[in-house]
Amino acid sequence: MLELDTVTAGYDRRTPVFRGASLTVAPGESVGLLGPSGCGKSTLARVAALLHRPDAGRLVLDGTEVTAWRHRAPRELRTAVGVVFQQPRTAADPRLTLADLLVEPLRATGRRAEAAARLAELAPAVGLTPDLLGRRPHEVSDGQLQRACLGRALALRPRWLVCDEMTAMLDASTTAALVAAVETYREETGASLLAVGHDRLLLRRWCDRTVEWQDCLPAEERP
């Protein structure tokens, strides 16, 4: 369960990107957040993924309020969230092989011992072959790299997933394949999902319900 309650966030306190946004995602639910480019939905996604601290308002994850952190949210909460961004090229360390990329979160949390076993589960789940796993980002296509980024987001078995325009760069078949991989994971684990994007057809097909960006805002803040 994720609850954003009248959240204000931005990169400069005097001119926040948005004021008073509210959104709830129930346990196991998938919600698609729709809005035009530049509306602030990516900033909201970063808040929901605990990557950006809101200036005001409450963020409640599974009953725990997580607004009171300073530089980074507490680790046990951060690791409960998996995030996939729009641009795999900028989201992936160019020096790592795709295999290293997939299990990087395990290494970063001191669970290196589990890496090989988890890799064997993750790679087929996101459709990566052994040949691809040995390559570095510049040797694979955007679609293949985004598969690895999705695998990385699932590595720690998050209870909660945020996908910010995950498929905006991808062709129709890769889009359908990545969405299927997310849904298989959610069926297995009951994880909740916030998918942010502008593709109405896609999010309506993918998610339990969709929310228009302006409906997250209080009446006086709507564009």
């Binding site: 035009p36 480019s37 530049g38 729009q86 459709g127 072959t129 296509s141 955007d142 679609g143 293949q144 905006a168 760069m169 991808l170 062709d171 129709a172 078949s173 890769t174 889009t175 359908a176 394949a177 969405v179 299927a180 502008h198 593709d199 109405r200 057809l201 896609l202 309506r204 097909r205 993918w206």
Partner: protein
């Protein structure tokens, strides 16, 4: 019909080319030699004609060779590329056609790029010079391409902006002050200054939201309606459906089907199983991915490159199907009735 016309028509028929094609591509192949003796076959035997006022959409998965094909047409490939085949660009007003693949850099730079072929780039924000206003970039291009006198330049730049529906009030802005849609229009305005008869649009809608995709696509269509030939390279099938007259589907470096857009997107549908799979992956259709992934362009199979993922593949598919009658498949599906 004069004797000269008859001769020209005969020549066109014997070469199998549409007589009025602005661009006529035959057997276009691009190979990259890598260290260690590996070869990447980025484009193999591509062929198509593109007429004035027509929009051909080249669609396919990322990495299938679409953008390499566009770069080959502009002579913008890196040094380790080897090209073969022909790409005839019709000459201006009766002048001889130019083979874009055989032309030297001087010809391409002085007579082709910007003047006879306009490029609408993939990421306009990266294409525009960040430290100069849109007006200054338009005027520079006007000067370089048309040699318009200084006083007339301002007017010419404003006209070009108007043709691309770029608002005059934003001309004195810098690229970072523009939204994605306006930056795309600024880049389009630059591509239109030379009044080129052929426009290459390489993924012009990537990263734009749906309303902007529609608007950008409609604007490109308008330039085709003005008599230009438009080659739209995209993975966005919805954009292709919106504006294309014909669709060419590329898979693993080869064009596997060329079909009229109304049939391709209509109830009959495409005939190549790959093209059908691409459409079935759309969220408003079956939303099912094509199983597996495309082959490496450095390790293409002997036969049909799609066979390992194809539901209809048989032993026949271990030999490569010829591209005949706008299709390269041993088991084409009949158009759905």
């Amino acid at each position: 019909m004069t004797a000269e016309n008859v001769l020209r028509a005969l020549k066109a028929v014997s070469a199998g080319r549409a007589e009025d094609a602005v661009l006529s591509v035959r057997d276009l192949s691009v190979r990259f030699r890598l260290r260690g003796g590996r070869t990447v076959e980025a484009v193999s035997d591509a062929g198509f004609d593109l007429g004035a006022g027509e929009c051909l959409a080249l669609v396919g998965e990322s990495g299938c060779g679409k953008s390499v094909l566009a770069s080959a047409l502009l002579g913008l490939l890196p040094g380790n590329a080897e090209t073969s085949g022909t790409a005839l660009l019709a000459g201006p007003e009766g002048a001889a056609a130019t083979d874009l693949l055989a032309a030297d850099e001087k010809t391409l730079a002085r007579t082709v790029r910007g003047r006879r072929v306009g490029l609408v780039p993939q990421s306009p924000a990266a294409h525009l010079t960040p430290v100069r206003t849109v007006r200054s970039q338009l005027e520079e291009t006007v000067r370089a391409l048309t040699g318009t006198s200084r006083r007339a330049r301002r007017r010419a730049a404003e006209d070009a902006a108007g043709r691309a529906a770029f608002p005059a009030g934003h001309l004195d802005r810098y690229p970072h002050e523009l939204s994605g849609g306006l930056a795309q229009r600024a880049a389009t305005a630059l591509a239109l200054i030379g009044d080129a008869r052929l426009l290459l649009a390489d993924e012009p809608t990537t990263g734009l939201d749906r309303d902007l995709v529609d608007r950008t696509a409609d604007e490109l269509r308008r330039h085709a309606d003005d008599g230009r030939a438009l080659l739209l390279i995209t993975h966005d099938l919805a954009a292709a459906e919106r504006i294309a007259d014909r669709v060419a589907v590329m898979y693993a470096g080869r064009i596997v089907e060329i079909a009229p857009a109304h049939r391709f997107f209509g109830p009959a549908g495409p005939r190549h199983p790959y093209a059908r799979g691409l459409l079935d992956a759309l969220p408003d259709r079956a939303f099912t991915p094509i199983p597996g992934m495309p082959p490496e362009l450095s390790a293409l199979p002997e036969g049909c490159a799609f066979a390992p993922r194809c539901p209809l593949a048989t032993e026949l598919c271990s030999t490569r199907p010829e591209f005949t009658a706008d299709l390269a498949c041993h088991h084409p599906e009949h158009p759905r009735a």
